[in-house]
Symmetry: C2
Subunit: 187 residues, 2 copies
């Protein structure tokens, strides 16, 4: 794994990451093994070892491909913007791509006490963005008493994950309205 610019290196890396993502979505993090990824990507098993000597690293890279594109660029008034953002997240959580990552992160938080950096980073990103959005609205006099950022994130996102993953149901708009009501005291 020397030359990061070698087309062969880039090609096989991409195909392995794609295979790992598909396996994660279809069969869960336990299926992201050297053997399964090699089969699916059409590469040799040794190649997977050369790129990621430990299976956990491969899973981590497969998840951390894209930064979660939520809560960027808040707009006033905050309520309709927040509603639209939550709507997008709820819809994305109905798809396996995001739902698989969410559940895998919960699993890793509980039992893979290593590899906390990616999870911590994503969570802090959400916290910061939400905090910035609510601070903006507070300055504009839209609301009072926002909660502390991590609690805010938990109130807004927790029910969406619970509903889509455990209950395997859809998220009605009235649910999002109630969550927004709970997130702050609106004027």
């Amino acid at each position: 794994m020397a030359d990061t610019q070698d087309p062969r290196f880039v090609r096989s890396r991409e195909s392995m990451l794609t295979a790992a993502r598909e396996l994660l979505q279809d069969e869960g993090p336990a299926a992201v093994t050297h053997q399964r990824v090699a089969q699916r990507a059409g590469v040799g098993r040794a190649t997977v070892y050369r790129h990621w000597s430990h299976p956990g690293d491969l899973l981590q890279d497969a998840m951390s491909a894209a930064d979660v594109p939520f809560f960027r660029q808040p707009r006033l008034p905050l309520r309709p913007w927040l509603l639209a953002e939550l709507r997008r997240i709820a819809d994305e959580l109905a798809l396996p791509a995001l739902a698989s990552i969410a559940v895998t992160l919960m699993y890793q938080a509980r039992w893979q006490t290593t590899a906390t950096s990616y999870r911590d980073h994503q969570l802090q990103l959400l916290d910061h963005r939400l905090q910035a959005a609510f601070a903006l609205a507070a300055d504009a006099g839209e609301l009072d008493e926002p909660l502390q950022p991590p609690v805010l994130t938990a109130i807004l996102l927790g029910p969406l994950i619970f509903r889509t993953t455990l209950q395997e149901g859809t998220v009605p708009d009235v649910m999002l309205e109630r969550l927004i009501d709970a997130a702050a005291k609106w004027r």
Copy 2:
């Protein structure tokens, strides 16, 4: 596995279930294998096979030992009762016993599409109990417009799981108050 009353049968079954629960809490559902359970329980590997020919059945029995003791016997006024119940749940979710089951259920809901009966049963139990509690309060004139039961459950429990599992933090009382506010329109 013939005589369910044989003390030997009961004894080894209990020790295996205890071992399975400990393994689930300490290392996750992936660790609940015939071999690991046999080692930990101090029984032969073949004995585990005789009781549960498939590892998934063992995991299922290990989780379904106790019915979740939440939201039983609602009391009026509903708000303080609901707050106390949520407080108990949040505190229990800080312990590995309940948190492990919650995360495992999410994992199974996503990827082990079989074995839905236990999960569905527990979820419906929570829904029904919460519905009964809110119906009681509605009759007493305490509130208007309760949400439909599954959405109610998601709003109340989702944030607790998100906060304790993903964020690995504690649940402040103010968070519970906000969730209760979101659950219904109180008078």
